[in-house]
């Protein structure tokens, strides 16, 4: 793969690898006994590996100019494989933390395996590692195909992929060592946060440069969503991660914000990580792969516009619904609730647009498990956004907040929407970029689908029941006018639901394992490059 880079790209790549190794060495040397030193060694090892990998083919002959007449799909393959590896790992950890709720001794007495340290490993792993790699990989595919142009260069996609995965490794290994900013879904420490900004800027520039080469006058709707994902996540990240390190040679930092302002910034970030990471980017996937797979055009162009701008505008207002009845001023809570309810309109416009697109292709939904993944994703997108608006209503939130209902809601989104649409997209794109007509095994795709659906339903039903039971027990009064249940009573009542959750999680994990094997076998049996070619005449790089 590296030999396919031009000689200039190889030299630049070597230079960047050396810089990374030096950065790692500096961090390792200055960090001394701090966890930052461990992260330095990780960067050093990665840098050195890349130095040898690139250095080994540095002076190989320049690649065939004919490559410019084709799409550049190598980073997509690697991104998908990485997403699946992270997915199996992160869902495995998810199963473990679910088990800890039933068998608390399953930490084996190790500091690194306490629930509090494993939980962000699971959330970061699924959302940012599995989801993030899936978004990056599919965005490389969608941007090329909808622009009918080749990626702007061959080096920056690798910079984005490798750099992003270094961020993830820093994040996850950090949690094991107790390195965390404790901001939910934004736990990595300051230097990882800074590194992510660099990677993200390169990603945005690559996207815009590729769009500039497009052979179509219009930018297709899938790209709007990918762009919103990249741009708004950058905005959110830069503000929410603002912090001062205790020392420039240590991991620990303190957030720039405190108390109520910090809570608002955190949930402005947190809910929009849901919106722009877990929704917008994946809607980009849905808008490309669902119509392609169904062989039907998007139902309504105007509905796409309304839902896109509705989502981009409304979502940023709704974070305060995580803070109902707290010390946050009531006016902000009410704004959050109002916009959360209004958000249902663009959300259902998107879900409806996707489902209406399937009209006339229902026989394919029945026959083709890949399309069925995306169908279920659209349905669960509609269901979770409805549930989200509902839970944002203050009196409902009074019952649901702090309970497992919220966790169930997140998983109906993460498993039912995010993971399902990702699997649908992967099964669509992989055969194409491997020069094959179909996945290695259609039967395994079927297996994956039914395992995932069974796991998803088991999981969300368990936690809906758990959450509502908890919420009701906490507020039940007896005839004497005092609280009827102690906290421990409510916790003990959770046990059967927590066991059901373990079963649901195990089924879903089994599904993704089947998927990973199938994807690996398909990629390994690649039969050349994608058959489709760019329309735009490609300038020399």
């Amino acid at each position: 793969m590296i030999a396919k880079l031009t000689r200039t790209e190889r030299h630049l790549g070597l230079l960047l690898s050396i810089c990374l190794a030096l950065l790692g060495l500096t961090m390792a040397a200055l960090g001394k006994h701090d966890p930052m030193a461990v992260h330095g060694f990780i960067a050093l090892a990665l840098g050195l590996t890349l130095v040898f990998a690139v250095g080994g083919v540095l002076e190989e002959p320049a690649p065939d100019p004919a490559r410019l007449q084709r799409y550049y799909d190598d980073p997509i393959k690697v991104g998908i494989v990485l997403a699946m590896v992270w997915g199996v790992f992160a869902m495995g950890v998810g199963l473990w933390v679910a088990a800890l709720m039933v068998w608390p001794e399953a930490t084996f007495g190790q500091p690194w395996s306490g629930y509090g340290r494993l939980r962000p490993v699971h959330t970061t792993g699924v959302i940012f590692a599995f989801g993030g790699n899936a978004l990056i990989a599919t965005s490389f595919h969608v941007m090329q195909r909808t622009c009918r142009a080749r990626l702007a260069d061959q080096l920056s996609p690798w910079f984005v992929l490798i750099g992003y995965n270094l961020f993830l490794v820093w994040a996850v290994t950090g949690y094991f060592m107790g390195v965390t900013q404790s901001k939910e879904y934004a736990e990595p420490e300051w230097y990882a946060d800074l590194w992510l900004v660099v990677v993200w800027l390169v990603y945005l520039v690559l996207y815009l440069r590729t769009l500039k080469r497009r052979a179509e006058p219009h930018i297709y709707v899938a790209n709007w969503y990918y762009l919103a994902f990249i741009v708004v996540v950058a905005m959110l990240h830069v503000v929410n991660a603002a912090a001062l390190p205790v020392s420039w040679v240590g991991a620990k930092s303190y957030s720039a914000f405190s108390g109520v302002q910090d809570a608002m910034v955190q949930w402005w970030y947190g809910h929009n990580a849901v919106a722009f990471f877990m929704t917008s980017g994946f809607l980009g996937m849905l808008y490309y792969y669902l119509p392609v797979r169904a062989q039907r055009p998007i139902f309504s162009y105007r509905l796409s516009i309304i839902s896109f701008w509705g989502i981009t505008f409304f979502y940023l207002w709704v974070g305060s619904h995580h803070l109902h009845y707290t010390a946050l001023p009531t006016w902000v809570q009410n704004l959050g609730m109002t916009f959360s309810v209004m958000l249902l309109v663009p959300s259902w416009a998107s879900a409806g647009n996707a489902l209406a697109t399937l009209n006339g292709a229902w026989h394919r939904v029945g026959d083709d498990a890949t399309l069925r993944f995306m169908f279920v994703a659209a349905v669960f997108y509609g269901l979770s956004t409805f549930e989200g608006s509902f839970l944002a209503i203050r009196p409902v939130n009074a019952l649901s907040h702090y309970t497992d209902w919220t966790v169930g809601h997140v998983h109906s989104g993460a498993l039912g929407w995010l993971a399902m649409v990702t699997f649908g997209a992967f099964y669509s794109v992989i055969p194409q970029i491997c020069g094959r007509t179909a996945m290695h095994s259609a039967r395994l795709v079927e297996w994956h689908f039914w395992l995932a659906l069974a796991g998803l339903l088991t999981y969300v039903f368990a936690l809906w029941n758990a959450g509502i039971t908890q919420g009701l027990m906490w507020r039940t009064y007896n005839a004497a006018g005092t609280l009827n249940y102690s906290f421990i009573d409510s916790m003990e009542a959770m046990r059967p639901y927590y066991i059901a959750r373990v079963i649901g999680g195990a089924l879903f994990l089994a599904g993704i394992c089947v998927g990973a094997v199938n994807i690996w076998l398909t990629v390994r049996g690649a039969r050349g490059a994608a058959a489709d070619v760019p329309l735009a005449p490609q300038a020399a790089e």
Partner: protein, 242 residues
């Protein structure tokens, strides 16, 4: 329709499209977040509000390190059952020095906003070493190593200094004496205790939290747990209606 026509043209310009996204996405945050820094009523003024001592701050950092916030909230909502179960609802001012706040989002275990002084130090130590020794059906992980890990106090002054830059009113004296003050808080009869009380106030809890002969992470965490909800007594005053 002209709006759709305008969009039809916007779709041809990638940079224009990005600018439009930034504009549309900026409004919500500006309207909801910026005023929280400027409207004075947002955070109440509590006359007796004190800052965390170095030992309590170290404990708070351990609480963060172990991810306790993943299962325990520190925010009592203005709902009758919560106030009856946990105590007076939380005021914004009580977490004004919390960088970051630890309000949490999930109660797998109970809320801890008013945990301080509800249980004895011995109970906390036993509970952290093995929760099931004191609460047989608890599903909390055990943290036995806290009792043996020596607390690292060397750079506590630096922690205080950084927090001062972020707006927490630590004095030069507090920063200079931070490591000593951490130890002093567990030695009520020691000479250094006077200095600690002079700097942090009469309300400071001086106790040999874990009873160990050296300063451990257990001391720090228990000191922090015992100060939760105790930084100000205003919320407990019956007439308070902030």
């Amino acid at each position: 329709m002209s709006l759709f026509k305008a969009h039809y043209n916007l779709e041809k310009h990638s940079v224009g499209f990005v600018v439009a996204i930034i504009l549309a996405a900026s409004v919500g945050g500006l309207v909801e977040i910026a005023p929280l820094f400027t409207i004075d009523d947002t955070v109440e003024t509590l006359p007796d509000m004190r800052v965390y001592t170095p030992l309590e701050l170290a404990g708070r950092d351990i609480y963060i390190r172990e991810g306790c916030y993943a299962c325990h909230s520190q925010m009592i909502r203005t709902l009758r059952d919560e106030v009856e179960r946990y105590g007076p609802y939380s005021l914004a001012a009580e977490s004004q020095y919390d960088h970051p706040m630890l309000w949490g989002s999930k109660r797998t275990g109970p809320d801890l906003a008013r945990l301080g002084s509800k249980y004895s130090d011995e109970w906390h130590v036993a509970h952290l070493i093995n929760p099931r020794d004191v609460v047989p059906t608890s599903i909390m992980p055990a943290y036995p190593w806290l009792a043996t890990n020596t607390l690292d106090v060397a750079d506590l002054g630096q922690h205080l200094a950084v927090l001062r830059r972020l707006g927490v009113p630590y004095t030069d004296e507090m920063i200079a004496n931070a490591p000593h003050d951490a130890l002093a808080q567990t030695r009520p009869d020691g000479e250094a205790a006077t200095g600690l009380v002079a700097r942090y106030g009469e309300a400071t809890t001086l106790r040999p939290f874990s009873g160990a002969d050296r300063l451990t992470e257990m001391d720090a965490l228990v000191a922090y747990l015992q100060v939760l909800g105790q930084l100000s007594q205003v919320p407990y005053a019956p007439e308070v209606t902030p």
